[in-house]
């Protein structure tokens, strides 16, 4: 039996969960897209974090053979993916049988079957050893595969591409809103066999034993705390809900104990938070009504430039002469961009200007919250963007002098980590009382 403490952060774009053990060590985490349904997102992400927790248990018992566990995890994901594909198939055939498609039902059914037959091999390719996936979310992978196949199989005279898309769009909603329960327990057996068939050098008997133990372990969820944009939607009692400001402060403190200022740039909002030596928030500022300069803005720009979000930063870093951008207004972003491109300005130079403009907005929030006195920890989706980090580094240097700037590949979990720490404290306080 293991006591665990769970923190869930419901962001506007992604929902994250962290599982801590009794020593405050992170033993599991999960992330999913928030959809329009926070309850479901919370269920799914919690399940994912608990699955990951059991993998941690496997790791702990077989030692630090991360390669084997990674393979195991990948194969479990494949099993989950296949289960969701089966659900998708079922949902689509129900839609195809509906009144809307009566006129071409059998043709449609045929096309869907052909697509479906192609989906599983593609899925296995995604999860083959050494393969890279462009997303970890079922929705993204399945959609890409489906569109790829549908494009090939669609026939303007028969079943058109947009009809096929319509069926998928309707079906995926139902599928992704049903969590997979007890995934580890149900699927780890198959995943283990696939892993062993990949001929990794490992002790099969030891691995089987470790997996079996992990499967049977009783994880006792002692306390859960929810936070984030959608926290009010969580079916939790009030005392289990904490402001994301407080959670971000505590989470950043846990990751980098010398943090005194936290900057979080998420999809919808930007936060500047000051914390004391214990991670207690002493002051904070959020962006005003206008969401200019948040992550969502970069999303618009990426769409406008026909680039993936993660490609923006590296492209911006190729710039030699930065363009001065004055407005980070999401409403005008598209028009301004087109005008600049039509004037012959280079994409990378415009992007470099855009990144600086976004960070300038953040700088004014930082100033409003009390400035930067010591280590600054930069979190949120935009913290993964190297051009944004570089612009922040420059501007801090220019305005505050030399300061340590912390970033972490795990920074997206900062809020959920803080929430889990609050859960742990609440449980301790309860136990003490």
């Amino acid at each position: 039996m293991i006591d665990v403490f769970v923190g869930i952060d419901l962001g506007s774009t992604t929902t994250k969960a962290i599982v801590l053990d009794g020593d405050g060590q992170v033993i599991g985490r999960g992330i999913t897209n928030s959809r329009s349904n926070y309850d479901v997102a919370a269920l799914i992400v919690r399940e994912e974090a608990l699955v990951r927790t059991r993998f941690t248990l496997v790791e702990r018992s077989i030692g630090a053979d991360a390669f084997v566990v990674a393979a195991l995890e990948r194969n479990l994901k494949l099993e989950q993916h296949l289960e969701l594909l089966a659900r998708l198939r079922e949902a689509m055939s129900m839609i195809a049988a509906g009144p809307k498609h009566r006129a071409h039902a059998s043709d449609l059914r045929e096309r869907l079957d052909e697509i479906d037959a192609g989906m599983e091999p593609l899925a296995r390719e995604h999860f083959a050893p050494g393969a890279t996936r462009r997303s970890d979310f079922f929705r993204d992978l399945a959609a890409a595969d489906y569109m790829h196949l549908a494009e090939k199989l669609a026939d303007p005279k028969g079943i058109a591409f947009d009809v096929l898309c319509g069926v998928f769009d309707a079906a995926i909603l139902a599928v992704e809103n049903l969590p997979i329960e007890r995934a580890f327990e149900r699927h780890i057996g198959a995943a283990l066999e696939t892993t062993l068939s990949e001929h990794l050098s490992c002790d099969a008997a030891q691995l089987r034993r470790a997996v079996e133990d992990a499967r049977n372990e009783d994880l006792v969820e002692r306390a859960t705390v929810g936070t984030g944009y959608g926290r009010a939607r969580l079916p939790f009692p009030k005392e289990q809900i904490r402001s994301e400001i407080l959670c971000h402060g505590l989470g950043a403190h846990a990751m980098f104990p010398a943090t005194r200022t936290v900057l979080d740039i998420g999809g919808q909002d930007t936060k500047a938070i000051q914390v004391d030596a214990n991670g207690i928030v002493t002051s904070f500022q959020m962006n005003d009504r206008c969401a200019a300069g948040c992550g969502r803005y970069l999303g618009y720009i990426a769409d406008e430039m026909n680039l993936a979000l993660h490609e923006l930063g590296p492209l911006a870093q190729e710039s030699r002469t930065r363009v001065k951008i004055n407005s980070t207004c999401t409403v005008f972003a598209g028009a301004e961009l087109r005008e600049r491109l039509s004037l012959g300005q280079k994409r990378e130079d415009i992007l470099a200007g855009l990144h600086r403009a976004i960070i300038l907005r953040a700088m004014s929030l930082l100033a409003r919250s009390g400035g930067i006195t010591d280590q600054l920890t930069f979190t949120g989706g935009v913290a993964k963007n190297p051009a944004a980090v570089a612009a922040l580094r420059d501007l801090i240097q220019e305005n505050y002098g030399v300061r340590t700037l912390n970033t972490s590949p795990d920074s997206i979990y900062t809020g959920s980590l803080g929430a889990a720490l609050f859960a742990q404290r609440a449980a301790e306080r309860k136990a003490a009382a």
């Binding site: 402001s243 407080l246 928030v281 002493t282 009504r289 409003r368």
Partner: protein, 424 residues
């Protein structure tokens, strides 16, 4: 018994307002003239001394906000070419006018016989009445320019300037519109009544120094200032209202009770806050609830000083009628320089033993809002008390983002908790 008594002042005020609007509705039929004017630095006693009835477009606008009509009115004004960037009080008023000028009691408001443009603490007032002058055609305008207290004190020549304008511009026009001669004795009598009511108002506002505070000095406070900031200062009805209010608050004090909210008596007082800036009217109750649900009570506010800083000692003085009116105009909160405003808030935080302060920054009102971010930092630095900054509007429902505002309030109060937890 006491539950009924608590409603007394509320009912009394409601009756005063509805009587006033009724009188306005039939004013022209009864040969009664009306004067439109603004709340800050209004010359109610002077207007009333000529037997004229005041109409306050700001009050109409906020009433439209409370009645959820403002969104429609603002849209109407924007349709007529008014920019989305500018003050929504103005647009709400103009939209209401375009839609028939129906007042809060459902009856049409009379056209103005005089626009008394008391330009006090707000530049937009000037444009507002210029716009109304266009809308109403041939209405005379009396302009009273009240200079700004940039240095936190009234200079003698500023007072002279205001008094001179009353003598040469305001009084002659009031005489002309009313057909009556200026009666200084009558004005003195009214100023005497003003001062009596002002004493009780100050007593009420300062009752919040007690713990727990028997009043909410913001959400309740805006009701308490109603009669004295608007059409009733200088009238016996206002004196009666404040006598009743004082008795009610005294009773709550005696019983150790907190404020009364729309949902009944407030729970335990957990946080004492000071507030800078006007409230939001379109979601007034929802906004209040975000605080009282958490046990947060406002113990002092600057908004309740836009019609005079009575708590700093000012009283209307019947012995110097025009000079006292001039000082009154000059002394309104929004007519004070920013350093004076910061000093005042700093004192409130100390005097009222506040745990925190809120800056409710409204888009519509540059007079309040410009510089508030700096005020926030100054106050945090000087007092060590953390502030909360919320963006809002007066009557534009598009600017009240409930989820966002609630998020900030919750985060802020949890932060205060956490700080206290460490201190304890």
């Amino acid at each position: 018994m006491s539950a009924i008594r608590k409603e007394d002042s509320m009912l009394l005020q409601k009756q005063m307002i509805s009587d006033h609007y009724d009188r306005l509705a039939s004013a022209h039929d009864e040969g009664q003239k009306v004067v439109y004017t603004f709340v800050p630095g209004n010359l109610n006693e002077l207007v009333r001394s000529f037997g004229l009835l005041p109409v306050l477009p700001e009050i109409n606008a906020l009433q439209s906000g409370l009645r959820k009509k403002s969104g429609e009115y603002i849209a109407e004004a924007e349709k007529h070419g008014h920019s989305e960037d500018v003050c929504t009080y103005v647009k709400c008023d103009i939209g209401m006018l375009k839609k028939g000028n129906i007042g809060p009691t459902g009856r049409q408001l009379p056209k103005p016989d005089l626009l008394l443009l008391s330009y006090t603490g707000c530049f937009t007032f000037l444009k507002w009445f210029e716009l109304l002058r266009e809308e109403y055609g041939d209405v005379p305008v009396a302009m009273l320019h009240v200079p700004y207290q940039a240095n936190g004190r009234i200079e003698p020549h500023q007072r002279d300037y205001v008094v001179q304008q009353m003598r040469t511009e305001i009084i002659p026009k009031l005489e002309q519109v009313s057909g009556r001669k200026f009666d200084e004795d009558r004005l003195r009598d009214m100023l005497r009544l003003s001062a009596a009511a002002e004493d009780d108002l100050v007593w009420t506002l300062e009752s919040a120094k007690k713990t727990p505070s028997p009043i909410d000095a913001y959400f309740g406070g805006v009701h308490y200032i109603g009669p004295i900031f608007s059409a009733f200062r200088g009238m016996q009805s206002a004196v009666d209202y404040y006598t009743a209010l004082r008795a009610e608050v005294q009773e709550r004090l005696d019983n150790g009770q907190g404020p009364v909210t729309p949902e009944g008596p407030m729970g335990k007082e957990k946080y004492r806050l000071v507030v800078e800036g006007p409230p939001n009217w379109t979601s007034f109750r929802e906004f209040w609830k975000m605080f009282y649900d958490e046990g947060a009570v406002f113990v002092s506010s600057t908004y309740t000083k836009v019609g005079g800083l009575y708590d700093r000692g000012f009283r209307h003085d019947p012995d110097h009628p025009l000079e006292t009116l001039a000082d009154y105009c000059l002394g309104c909160y929004t007519n004070l320089g920013l350093p004076t405003r910061v000093d005042l808030l700093e004192q409130y935080i100390a005097d009222y033993n506040a745990d925190g302060f809120l800056v409710n920054s409204v888009k519509s009102c540059n007079s309040f809002s410009v510089g508030q971010l700096m005020m926030l930092r100054q106050l945090e630095t000087r007092t060590g008390v953390p502030g909360l900054f919320i963006e809002n509007d007066l009557v534009d429902p598009r600017y009240f983002s409930a989820a966002n505002i609630k998020n900030r309030i919750e985060s802020y109060l949890q932060m205060l908790d956490q700080k206290r937890g460490v201190a304890a």
